[in-house]
């Protein structure tokens, strides 16, 4: 590890930091260091371990193994309070301020000396708030209520807190995610000023151009491991992308067997201002798995919700089986033959308190129960059919949904939607939080469904999954579909499209 010669001891050093959650190894022995007066970018795909690393540095998570040194001294049992007193501050994407209090009060809450009984010196509070805000270049009224501030203004308040606390290590987690270009420039100016004052900054961003504009060094994480730290001037964008994805896609995915048939879904210029989706055009054919890749927040789930009528479209057209439709509600979408297996199956998929059979029939009441009378036999038969078909491991159709493992819950959720006999099946993160065995089972299931003539849209943040399962891959970025790549496209090209690189060349 080369440390820059100007600073004898780095501000912060992590050695072999490791952290597991349940059976998932989020960090597997990462080395990381931060020098005074540098901006050190942290880069990686969704789930590469960036957040975990940050939370270890801020004391929110205790590492299972490894060592943390701050200013050359080893720190044991770092807590958030201890981290703060050591001069570590974190500015999150969503500022954690109290919306009903003023800017000065918010800053005061962080910086005033502790003690519930002390008198508040309002005048000093205001004066300090004004001084700190001035240092960030913000022209904010210390007496303004935080709820009236924009997101970037709130970020500046957070930065003012960090400065006021005398932070020497500032972590910024995707600070520009919701900023306009001008706000971004102002933020950069503040970051550069902090750097000039000798503060070390850990900067997380998905936007490569920012890293090249701002950072001195960059560390790339992949699957919980550091795959290298480089000086920004020594590396290219293509090199960074390669580092981020540079693994071979494992051959665990079932091969595509079906030749795609007729076009089932055709979307032209689809948009929905409320959902932040604009100008999306693509087609999905029967028997095809259309993968939707993109970073978290790129608008994939939002697109699915527009197609399913949850946030009805206000622009463009949707054609299902050649017929123009405008789904205004999930009910209408289901009636048309669209099914949507939502992302968060614990919250909106399987109803944990309900028996499996009731869960499976929830979306087909009108068909299964004509006249509104429940038919327990029909319900049980349908449930038993799916339990057998999808190999759901359960005590029986009467067992509550909550008694199942994650993978089996996902199958129940899938069964509910297959029961509607859809033409188009939209799967949102179908294998999230599912163990490896169940995952490949679900993959085989998706393949089988496609083979049976279903058009499948599969949203996934798991890049290997998208690459392995998709016949074609749509890549979303900033609420729109920026590229449609053929199946078998390499990970770097998909990642480049997701990051907004090489849009002009198509597949880079």
């Amino acid at each position: 590890m080369a440390t820059s010669p100007s600073s004898p001891a780095p501000l912060l050093t992590l050695r072999r930091a490791a952290k597991s959650f349940g059976g998932v190894r989020a960090l597997r022995g990462v080395d990381f260091d931060l020098a005074a007066g540098e901006v050190h970018a942290l880069l990686g795909e969704n789930g590469a371990g960036k957040s975990t690393l940050i939370k270890i540095i801020t004391g929110a998570h205790r590492p299972d193994a490894g060592e943390i040194c701050v200013a050359g001294r080893t720190v044991d049992g770092l807590t958030p309070a201890r981290a703060q007193s050591l001069g570590i501050a974190c500015i999150y994407q969503q500022p954690a301020l109290f919306p009903d209090l003023t800017v000065a009060e918010n800053i005061g809450l962080r910086l005033d000396p502790p003690g519930a009984g002390r008198r508040v010196d309002w005048r000093a509070r205001r004066a300090r708030a004004a001084a700190l805000l001035a240092r960030t270049g913000a022209s904010l009224d210390p007496e303004a209520e935080v709820r009236e501030l924009s997101m970037p203004e709130q970020q500046l308040v957070e930065i003012a807190c960090a400065i006021g606390a005398g932070a020497r290590i500032v972590v910024m987690d995707e600070p520009t995610a919701s900023l306009t270009a001008r706000e971004q420039e102002r933020l950069f100016a503040v970051v550069r000023e902090l750097r000039a004052a000798g503060v070390g900054i850990i900067y997380i961003s998905h936007r490569l151009e920012e890293i090249f504009a701002l950072a001195d060094r960059v560390t790339v994480l992949r699957d919980g491991e550091s795959v290298g730290t480089h000086a920004v001037r020594d590396i290219t964008e293509a090199g960074l992308i390669k580092l981020m994805v540079g693994r071979e896609v494992a051959q665990l995915y079932p091969p595509a067997e079906s030749a795609p048939g007729a076009t089932v879904l055709a979307v032209r210029g689809l948009g929905c201002a409320a959902a932040g989706v604009r100008d999306v055009s693509f087609e999905v054919r029967a028997g095809e798995v259309f993968g939707l890749a993109g970073l978290v927040g790129a608008g994939r789930t939002e697109l699915a919700r527009v197609l399913f009528g949850l946030t009805p479209a206000d622009d463009g057209e949707i054609r299902l089986d050649g017929e123009r439709i405008t789904p205004q509600s999930p009910r209408a979408a289901v009636a048309r033959g669209i099914a949507y297996v939502p992302e968060d199956r614990r919250r909106h998929g399987v109803v944990l308190e309900m028996p499996i059979a009731e869960n499976m029939t929830m979306a087909v009441h009108p068909r299964l129960f004509p006249g509104g009378w429940l038919r327990p036999r029909a319900e049980k038969d349908l449930a038993l059919g799916f339990i057998r078909d999808l190999a759901v491991k359960c005590a029986g159709p009467g067992a509550p949904g909550g008694s199942l493992s994650g993978g089996n819950q996902q199958k129940v959720s899938l069964a509910r939607w297959l029961a509607t006999k859809p033409m188009l099946l939209i799967l949102d993160e179908p294998t999230q939080g599912v163990d490896v065995g169940a995952k490949s089972e679900i993959h085989r299931l998706i393949r089988r469904l496609a083979k049976g003539g279903l058009a499948v849209i599969m949203i996934s943040s798991d890049l290997p999954e998208v690459l392995g399962m998709s016949d074609r891959i749509g890549v979303m970025r900033g609420g729109t579909l920026t590229a449609v790549l053929p199946g078998g496209t390499g990970a770097p090209a998909v990642m480049a499209a997701a990051l907004g690189q090489g849009e002009t060349q198509g597949a880079a």
Partner: protein
């Protein structure tokens, strides 16, 4: 068995109380006083059925007492104007349904929290009634009390009607798809919506149903005396909600049934006569009822909550 643990335990508790009374206070079982006791509780049972549905739907309505008073006075005035009795019964239910619809629109349509909405309607209805009527009693014409029947026949009619409502609600919740929707919406409204169920419509309708049943209950109450008391519904909401919660309907929605609410109501209703027959001072009634409610709520709180685990 495990699924109906709460209902079974309430029924067992009720059985124990009844058994204890049989041993220590056999006078409790004299037919006429017992029939009177049951008749007095009949209107409460009808409201409790509606309330059970509202609470299963993860809502609450604390304005039922005021709705009850308004319906009572309105029905009394209509009867005094010479409307035929069957029409008055229908009118009471329709007025109640209208009041329930107001709550329903505010809760389901505007998505306001039901506790606040019904607190507001509770106060508004009560004060509005006071303002209009100044607490005046309504004298009912002849032929209204006990529907013009003998007292015993009237009492049996009321008890029969209340049991009919109970059975209808119980069967509907079990055998109609609509009953399933109430449970689904109360457990997870978003999942229900994704499945094509309309949570707002279901929520609106349970409030309307509760209102209609409250109107019916008001009618069942006024026929028991020659005059309509404008404050008849005061405090009724607490009694009804307590019965429903004691009967195993989860205040956080999604579970319970009207049968449990029935057992809960009887259990609470037995406290006062039991004390009298056991010669314990009546001051203890509220304390014992409170203890029963507390026990029920604690039992709910201790029930395992499967949704609580972290992300895997």
């Amino acid at each position: 068995m495990k699924r109906y643990f709460r209902e079974i335990s309430v029924t067992l508790a009720l059985g124990l109380v009844l058994l204890g009374l049989a041993v220590f206070a056999p006078a409790f079982y004299q037919p006429q006083p017992l029939l009177s006791l049951v008749t007095r509780e009949a209107p409460t049972l009808v409201i409790a059925c509606g309330m059970a549905l509202v609470i299963i739907c993860r809502q609450i309505d604390i304005s039922v007492g005021s709705q009850f008073s308004v319906c009572s006075v309105a029905a009394g005035l209509l009867a005094a104007h010479g409307w035929p009795l069957p029409l008055v019964v229908v009118a009471a239910a329709v007025i109640g349904a209208g009041l329930g619809a107001v709550n329903g629109v505010l809760v389901a349509g505007l998505r306001l929290p039901s506790i606040v909405v019904t607190l507001a309607t509770m106060v508004t209805l009560r004060q509005g009634l006071n303002l209009l009527r100044q607490g005046e009693f309504v004298n009912l014409p002849d032929g209204v009390q006990w529907f013009g029947l003998s007292q015993t026949a009237g009492q049996w009619t009321l008890v029969g009607a209340a049991l009919a409502v109970l059975v209808a609600c119980g069967l509907a919740m079990r055998h109609l798809a609509a009953g399933r929707w109430v449970y689904a919406v109360g457990t997870d409204a978003e999942a229900a919506r994704l499945a094509g169920i309309r949570p707002q419509l279901v929520t609106f309708l349970v409030f309307v149903l509760l209102g209609a049943l409250t109107g019916l209950a008001a009618m069942m109450n006024i026929v028991q005396s020659p005059q309509v008391q404008p404050l008849a519904g005061a405090g009724l909401e607490l009694k009804v909600i307590a019965a429903v919660v004691v009967g195993g309907v989860s205040i956080s929605g999604g579970r319970g049934n009207v049968w449990g609410a029935f057992a809960g109501l009887l259990l609470l209703a037995c406290v006062a006569p039991a004390l009298t027959h056991l010669r314990i001072e009546a001051y203890w009634e509220k304390a014992i009822q409170g203890a029963i409610i507390l026990l029920a709520v604690v039992a709910d709180g201790l029930r395992s909550r499967p949704g609580k685990g972290g992300r895997g």
